[in-house]
């Protein structure tokens, strides 16, 4: 076979570039659709809700219409804003403490098999205690106010962080730590250079779980023993049978939860792109 037959120019090249453009356009359309889809679904669900409540004539104190909830949000925007700010602050304080404590304890447990065996069962026992039951005790200790709420948010959210960070560090491939140990690395070097970076995807996964738990914690505490916050507002509203306002509280809480989740997601995409091989994590 003559050798120069292999270098005949491919006749499809020009065709190929227009096809590439078409593929790129299709990908763009798909990305746009993916971006608006959650909003469309939410709107559709709200519309269905509105129609159902009107159609079946459900009384407002059982299930208010979305339009009534919106009206209530407009009417009570000032107390909603103030109380949600209060809830956000206690949650953020509790959550920040959970991150600091969770990272420290998770690192310690993950890098020492002694602590792993000794502390892990104790932690699990602690986590099995229903935290709601602790809130009255916290109120006795710290009085009515933001402190029990922040502590409850902390108590509910630190455990997933500890477990995930510990798992990430404890499951470092032995060969990977051998590479460093054979260089004379100290245990702290291995944790810093391999353990912690490797645990970061686990850490961010746990943040998404525990940010929701933190909101649950602070709102529960506010319903039990507080005179401010969304939880308190919802208790007061439900005692007056102002159900649209209760739902308005729920909406505000959901918005705050989603915003915090989005923040965690943004930090995650910036810091651990390597774990998803350059693709943004869902």
């Amino acid at each position: 076979m003559p050798r120069d037959e292999a270098v005949v120019p491919a006749p499809v090249r020009r065709n190929g570039s227009s096809r590439a453009a078409a593929l790129a356009a299709a990908a763009r359309r798909r990305r746009r659709l993916e971006a608006v889809l959650p909003w469309l679904l939410t709107l559709a669900a709200l519309a269905l809700w509105e129609v159902a409540v009107r159609g079946f004539a459900i009384p407002e104190f059982i299930l208010p219409k979305p339009s009534a909830i919106a009206a209530s949000m407009v009417k009570w925007w000032d107390p909603l804003l103030q109380n949600s700010w209060q809830t956000l602050m206690t949650t953020v304080v509790g959550f920040a403490a959970a991150i600091a404590f969770g990272l420290a304890l998770g690192t310690a447990i993950g890098s020492s098999s002694l602590l792993y065996r000794g502390l892990y069962p104790v932690l699990i026992a602690f986590n099995s205690v229903p935290k709601v039951a602790v809130v009255p005790i916290l109120v006795i200790w710290f009085g009515i106010g933001s402190v029990p709420a922040a502590i409850t948010a902390f108590l509910l959210s630190f455990f997933p962080i500890v477990v995930n960070v510990a798992t990430g560090i404890a499951t470092v491939e032995p060969e990977l730590s051998d590479v460093l140990r054979a260089l004379g690395a100290r245990p702290l070097d291995i944790v810093r250079k391999v353990g912690l970076p490797r645990a970061m995807p686990f850490f961010f996964a746990s943040l998404k779980v525990s940010i929701t738990s933190a909101f649950v914690g602070s709102i529960i505490a506010e319903t039990v023993g507080s005179n401010a916050g969304i939880g308190h507002l919802m208790i007061v509203a439900s005692s007056r049978f102002d159900v649209p306002l209760v739902f308005a509280g729920l909406v505000v809480t959901a918005v705050m939860g989603v915003a915090m989740y989005g923040g965690a997601q943004m930090v995650e995409n910036r810091t651990i792109g390597w774990a998803t091989r350059g693709m943004p994590a869902a």
Partner: protein, 281 residues
Amino acid sequence: MPDSGPARSARQDAFVELDGVEVLYGGDGGTLALRDASLSVAKGEFVAVVGPSGCGKSTLMRLVTGLWPASDGNVIVAGREVDGPLSIAGMAFQNPTLLPWRTVLDNVMLPLEVVVPHRGRLRRERAAYEAQARDLLSLVGLAGFEQRFPWQLSGGMQQRTSLCRALIHQPALLMLDEPFGALDVFTREELWGVLQDLWLARKPTVILVTHDLREAVYLADRVLVMSARPGRIVAERRIDFARPRRLAGTYAAEFQAVVQDLRDQIDESRRGDGQGAGDAA
């Protein structure tokens, strides 16, 4: 019992010396990985260790680098009894074991952040060290890939990066545990050449563990044959082909004869132990 095996050719200038070493995994009644293993490697020598799988070759690596203690016997490296991890060793394994959150360049420079004389200087002399790393990468044909991440590279390129990482701190001792075992034949043979060039340029002492006899004969000055578990060195063979060796040479009759000879010795060592536990990995 005094072993009269050919491996006991202890010399004055030995850089790595094992003397009657025994390694027991899992405490009393555990697995005996090495028994009465003795060998000595001269400074700057390239030694390959071959043997049936599960014979304790990897144990040998961990032993010499101080990652695992000997239950009995002496391990001496660079004139000192090994009692903990060495910092003069570079290691590469069958898996490239690169850190996926670091670029190729940062992966190669990892040892510099850990090994004692360099870790203090790295911050001040970063540019000089980085130039060294880039030189090393271009030596193995990875120029232009410094800012890529390991997962963006092919298996062979990852393994080259791993070799660079093992060499960046200019270790006196290079320990390679089947570094090319997971690669396809073409990449593997290409990397033999790369490794030979690196060795000829710097002349570290190399201990290469492999189950590929052609690889061992192509690369090494001396091939040691290990018996089935519990492993010990049962035979050794000096390889005197001129350097640099060429890949074409591996198809020459005298090369094939050496390989065949080694293969026979391994078969013998498996039969000799009467258990043929070839698959006890």
